[in-house]
Symmetry: C2
Subunit: 347 residues, 2 copies
């Protein structure tokens, strides 16, 4: 028992929902392997960020507590379906969150309707569709305008149909939102993702790079949110094992694609004007997330969903100026050009 607790503390930010023993017993099942992968990814990313911002530490919020009962805090009761790690107002990071969620139950009518509208045929047994969903998601907003914001999310979904067959798919992606363009960083970021994809199939990176540019589009501005990365959903071929291996490669690429960029720029000097431009770009981030992001919109419309977790993706601060237009040939105009016309960073 003590050994297990020690191992938990070393490997994860919070105990896995399904329990370490149960995960070990069912270690060949993909669900267990995915749960371990998302927990490990959370821990890896949090540790890498903490190493760069030693003064700050992640607040871990991972247990379901009976609110308002006055019971002593901090003592684990039931493992919660969600483990949130949040860092706010550090030296390097303004706001960083890495969330894990593992839930199962019966699919709501509304969720089933939405999935069918995306082309899934779901045959329910007595109107019931047991499902299991798990994922890790994160947004990192640094303070320095020369360090880009990064977002990633990897998730797995499983639904049991009337005849007992299981529908399953993976989704996810990693993308970068710089305030200023640094071509070297953009190439490093995309190259690292491309290498992760290419190990599995050379067709994946170009396809998911384009999907990312298309998804993170702020239509009313005619701009992308950032310089992209990869994005995919409903991935269910060639096989469960192969897709899992692909997702694992992507998740393992998060730290190497982003952390070197933070290291390189975290002590860069910057002007008040550069900070201001960062704040205006943060405004666009808010616009994308509140107006277009599928996950955010779904969360806001779902009764009982945890608003604080859904809106954790928003920056600490943002700014909107009426009719702000960067000067021609400025560094601000340079990034806008790339947001309007996405580039291929690796060939």
């Amino acid at each position: 028992e003590d050994e297990e607790e020690k191992e938990l503390r070393q490997r994860f930010m919070a105990p896995p929902v399904s329990g370490l023993r149960e995960l070990r017993r069912r270690r060949r099942e993909l669900r267990s392997r995915m749960e371990l992968l998302i927990m490990e990814t959370q821990a890896e990313v949090c540790r890498a960020l903490t190493a760069l911002d030693p003064g700050a530490s992640f607040a871990v919020d991972s247990w379901e507590r009976k609110e308002g009962t006055g019971e002593p805090r901090g003592r684990p009761r039931t493992p919660a379906p969600r483990a949130r790690c949040v860092l706010q107002d550090g030296e390097v990071f303004e706001k960083a969150g890495v969330n894990v969620s593992v839930v199962s139950g019966l699919l709501s009518e509304e969720a089933a309707r939405q999935m069918r509208s995306r082309g899934k045929s779901l045959k329910a047994k007595d109107g019931k569709l047991p499902f299991c969903a798990m994922g890790v998601s994160s947004v990192i907003h640094p303070k320095n305008p020369h360090v880009p914001t990064m977002h990633f999310n990897y998730r797995y979904f499983e639904i049991e149909e009337a005849d007992g067959t299981k529908q399953w798919w993976f989704g996810g992606g990693t993308d970068l939102t710089p305030t200023y363009l640094n071509e070297e960083d953009a190439v490093h970021f995309h190259k690292t993702l491309k290498e992760a994809c290419d190990k599995h199939d050379p067709k994946l990176y170009p396809k998911y790079k384009k999907w990312c540019d298309d998804y993170f589009y702020i239509k009313h501005r005619g701009e992308r949110r950032g310089i992209g990365g990869i994005f995919f959903d409903d991935m269910d071929s060639p096989s469960k094992e192969e897709v899992f291996q692909f997702v694992k490669s992507c998740a393992k690429a998060v730290v190497p694609c982003y952390i070197p960029i933070v290291k390189k720029h975290r002590h860069d000097s910057f002007t008040p004007e550069e900070k201001l431009w960062q704040q205006l770009r943060r405004g666009r981030y808010v616009e994308f997330n509140l107006v277009y992001d599928r996950g955010t919109k779904f969360g806001l419309l779902t009764p009982g969903s945890r608003i604080e977790s859904i809106l954790m993706s928003l920056p600490l601060t943002a700014r909107w100026e009426y009719m702000h237009t960067p000067l021609e040939s400025s560094k601000e105009a340079e990034i806008l050009e790339v947001l309007r016309n996405p580039k291929d960073w690796v060939h």
Copy 2:
């Protein structure tokens, strides 16, 4: 000609779209009277704000220019369908905009569909529905957290159906968003609006007060955006003349309901903590406007609409903190209570 220009400058912030002579010639028509009312309201509000913030001045942006032709600026060419007055980063006001818009043309398929879904039966002639829409709208975000944000909008809509009959309606409202609750101010604001309504029908204020509380509801937070005011739409009875007189009373009440509150508090001292709470409340303002506001959503989805005008309602700066919860019995908790459970301020 010179006399007319002089009069224009004295009475308005920008020349009326339809031209002063034309408006005079057709002075009995409701369209002309409404156009004058919205232009006068714009000028009244801008002047009142300027008087309180003498260092700042409104940038007026009212002419359609051929962009990029290198023609000298500032010379009127065609009166534009919109006149925007924007003040940014003044002493008292962080961001204040008062926009007027007068447009006519043929209703788009999408707009007609939306109106029919709101219960209007619109019989088109060869699929065409000529319309005319005009309105004044404004959001005032002050710097001092003890001065509330105010929003108002008054508009008129006319559609010509196949048989030549005209459908028409008015809409509008005025509402207040304080950072901290000041009961005296809340009562003054609501009382002034109630008096404007009561002159026409004592049923109007209670009905439109409730409509306002219902409309400015941030569902995912369980809070209203502010402490309300009045809000109405599709108002088309008892008669065009009577509704216009009601709207006129409301428009004339904007300055007396808001300006005394600004005067009273613009020099109040405040702490960094109070400024921070204001920034968090501004975040909620952004959430309401981007996620729920009908006008904003419609604007963002309409191709070719002017994004800068639509998003002028957003504050200059906003903030999102993960899991910020005010202390019990604090001033922050006091306003939250009222936003969660709207009060009747006048009886």
